[in-house]
Symmetry: C2
Subunit: 233 residues, 2 copies
């Protein structure tokens, strides 16, 4: 760093900065990712994460929120920074760094028309098409991050409907970790967290007996999210 003054900023290189959203959604069966076919050259027509350049008068965070709202119609979505991808030649279009930001949404809440209008498609993790640039890497990193997050914070609030069953919460975890858990132990563990409120109602869409619906206790949930847990499955 030099000792020049005042117009030091003016002498520096300016660079394109983008953000790409890794949009996770859950439909009570499995976790999915929203991607679309890129519209701009190079690689127009190839599968891509959904993103945008960051404008000079908006924050990096708001750029991602704008993208999310444009595509899904949703506001106040849970988003978290993943990582910056800043290598010199990651984008043949021009020197451009991107900030990966992942979002967690309830698929049922989306504005389907908007999503379809943009040609965006939900893919299961094990059926993801190949993506442009370093986007496969972003997805892989986001999954690692999501799994890590799930191990020290409760998850589900952002991905499940207001009322949900324990079997569907288990499906969420199984889908994130891509493995099966023992239902007795899962139930025991999740109930021990003391963040669920059991309702009288049952959901009978997936069995004759029906499964009791639960809600998250938002206060306790947030408290745990803040304090951190040790959730090993």
């Amino acid at each position: 760093m030099d000792t020049k003054q005042l117009n030091y900023y003016a002498e520096q290189d300016k660079i394109l900065i983008a953000t790409d959203c890794i949009i996770f959604g859950f439909d009570n069966q499995s976790i999915k990712l929203l991607v679309f076919k890129r519209r701009i050259a190079p690689f127009a027509g190839k599968w891509s994460l959904i993103g945008s350049f960051v404008k000079k008068d908006e924050s990096v965070k708001n750029a991602a929120k704008r993208v999310l709202t444009d595509i899904t119609g949703l506001e106040n979505v849970f988003m978290k920074q993943l990582k910056v991808y800043g290598s010199v030649d990651r984008d043949p279009g021009d020197r451009c760094i991107t900030v990966g930001q992942y979002a967690l949404i309830r698929i049922e809440d989306q504005d389907i028309e908007l999503v379809e209008k943009h040609g965006a498609v939900w893919y299961d993790l094990d059926k993801m098409p190949d993506l442009v640039l370093d986007h496969n890497q972003l997805v892989e990193d986001a999954l690692v991050q999501l799994r890590l997050k799930a191990s020290y914070q409760p998850i589900g609030f952002e991905l499940l409907p207001e009322k949900f069953t324990i079997p569907s919460l288990q499906k969420l975890y199984e889908s994130i970790y891509q493995k099966q858990f023992d239902n007795r132990n899962f139930r025991k563990k999740i109930i021990a967290l003391d963040i669920l409120t059991k309702l009288e109602e049952k959901d009978k869409t997936s069995s004759k007996k029906g499964a009791y619906l639960y809600k998250f206790n938002r206060k306790k949930y947030d408290k745990l999210a803040d304090a951190g847990i040790n959730f090993k499955l």
Copy 2:
């Protein structure tokens, strides 16, 4: 995202991008942070993290490496991305986003002359001066990150000398978490990780009895760092 082609990139805003290093060091007693007095306006003369603008022809990672080497003389330092700070008005100098990157170094390895030449100073966490811009926030976030990292990966390799004692490893953890641990349980737990090799030598600088020196078993250490642990203290 629009559907224009080819020179779409050319129409986008370019933005200044910087990186700021949160440089953690350990001197066998406590963990410290390296800061210096900022040289450029605005806020010249105020305490600041050490950083640089990212040049068009270097990666974000290499910009941080360059800073580290310039200041400490060290190469191949452990560095990890923390977060992007991208709000519109974080820097009154100009619209500028910064990538926080934290480094772990052994203080004893530094090139003291270089460090002093730059007017950089090591501060204990509880004695840190107030920093410019959002740098206090970066430090706070880096600490949270470091504690999180320490809970799922072994740490110490990058911060301790090649040979070290268990009491000094404990001091490192205590310094990071800013609390005391029971020495019997700490020893039990760290030995159970099976990443230490006990040497015949003793270090007698801090007691008459002397404490046995240990080395990390790099292979096992890396394997654990990769696989992840559950290190709760």
